[in-house]
Symmetry: C2
Subunit: 341 residues, 2 copies
Amino acid sequence: MRAIEPIPDAMQAAVLHAYDGAPDSLRVETRPVPRPQRGQVLVKMTAAPINPSDLMFLKGLYGVLKPLPVAPGWEGAGRVVATGDDWLSRLLLGKRVACAAPNQHDGTWAEYMLTASARCVPLIDAIDDEAGAMLIVNPLTAWALMDTARRGGHRAFVQTAAASALGRMLLRLSQHFGVEGIHIVRREEQAELLRSMGARYVLNSEAAGFDEQLRETCRQLNATIAFEAVSGMTAAQVLRALPDGGRLVLYGALSESPLMADPRDLIFQRKRVEGFWLTDWLAGRSLLGQLRLARQVQHALGDLLRSEVAGRYPLQEVHRALQDYQASMTAGKRLLVMHEK
Amino acid sequence: MRAIEPIPDAMQAAVLHAYDGAPDSLRVETRPVPRPQRGQVLVKMTAAPINPSDLMFLKGLYGVLKPLPVAPGWEGAGRVVATGDDWLSRLLLGKRVACAAPNQHDGTWAEYMLTASARCVPLIDAIDDEAGAMLIVNPLTAWALMDTARRGGHRAFVQTAAASALGRMLLRLSQHFGVEGIHIVRREEQAELLRSMGARYVLNSEAAGFDEQLRETCRQLNATIAFEAVSGMTAAQVLRALPDGGRLVLYGALSESPLMADPRDLIFQRKRVEGFWLTDWLAGRSLLGQLRLARQVQHALGDLLRSEVAGRYPLQEVHRALQDYQASMTAGKRLLVMHEK
């Protein structure tokens, strides 16, 4: 192990004890600080956001179940303070990085996190740790979805949960790349927010005549792909509205319900349903391609891919952070702040 | 118009008056006999089967809704007794044909049917009208599904409703082509039937431990594609059991329920859901390719693609035929017999 500063034996971490979504099951506790092996780095965490995928993880609804007890948190940023003895890890020593949690062990809601060197992205100077902490999950997903729409030759797309942090990024990217979007929200203030950002086609799914309006707008713009984050009946509604041959890409399940689809859409209208997971998408790219992408995305972080921060909380107040986030996701991200920079 | 015999002005036909599935909505009535125009033929019907797609059509659940009142029936066989004045139609004059109904007008449950010349397949001598009446829907679909599995490089497949006429064809084709199948049925006598046909992997979805057994068998055989005809929760069960990257092809909805799917299968396991419709599949082939296919399939009709007939009914007794078919689809096809050959 190489280190740039003394590594303590113990740390504070939010620790999950049961996948039941009960507040009591998540407790801030003392945990040992692990030591990096070959191919690993120890990140002294600065900040970590709460994302929808974290909420799913707490309830056991995320696609990855880690052995309990475990620290949640899929992404964050900090400084690499110790590494294994291989060249790639050593290159990262002392660097500020955005980092993704490992699939088996403790995540980012802790003072230190051990992860694979390949799951870290060195931050450029223009990006501070707070923005860096929100580099991976939303910006890269938004980028990947836009890439999917453009490579597939789709001239327009539909998206649900359009007022989410990710949805707003997708809106800005679509404006930047000249791909038209149809943005579905559930409340009027969300619709106004998106319109104030210049969105031309915003539909409120709770308004009368929504189904008909969605179908008509899809037809008019030839929106042949949908990015769907709600699942349940929302997926069925959106699939129904797509023109013949339309493609629904599910990347979230905010409703926590099974996806539904009308058999007629699949059988007689050649529509299809697939999923999107950032991990798979990244795995399809070379290490060099991933690094190039990480730089591109960082340069857009201040602008197209920026996240609004609605609140900062010390790790001890993780429950308040979770409550505030669930009460209003549209207001912006909640960040857990572990160490001052 | 050219004709080989006098064409009467009126005929008997089963006529549907409402898409509500009520017995009263289907009545045998007198209808005018239409006259063929350019590109059309008039078929004097010999026989027409009842298929699951007809049951869906009667309830308005099929992908195509025709203006009412209308004669149901998607396929059948008979002799071309009159044609329009174009060369393709004239070639068919006097020929015995298998024929598919038009998407807008009256179908095969009638003494005469007007359809496009391109929707007729001349029957070879070895195939009688009864077998020919069941040439299109099941045999071609089974052939197309097997083709899909083989072209996709799938070494094994799953199928639901495996004891249906189509399911049994798929079993025989899989034995012929050396592709392994996992056959899902709902009753023990169906399982025994398939085992007596030589099926090695037959699972009863009502038996204890079904989910686990299905998953384990899919893993063992690397069954990466499923042909699903039930929809609803059955689709979710099958999708769940497929290995990572598995593909579910929906070609029916016997449960009359929306397809359900676990978001985790789509998002984290790269599984996908699509539909199959014979009409689309055929449209992707040239006319010559379709004719070649029709000959291939006819040569297999006596053997791999044979249908068992469980009962023959005059058109007047269409209600009894429907009741018997719905009471036991596994027993075999019910044929409506319109004219003696």
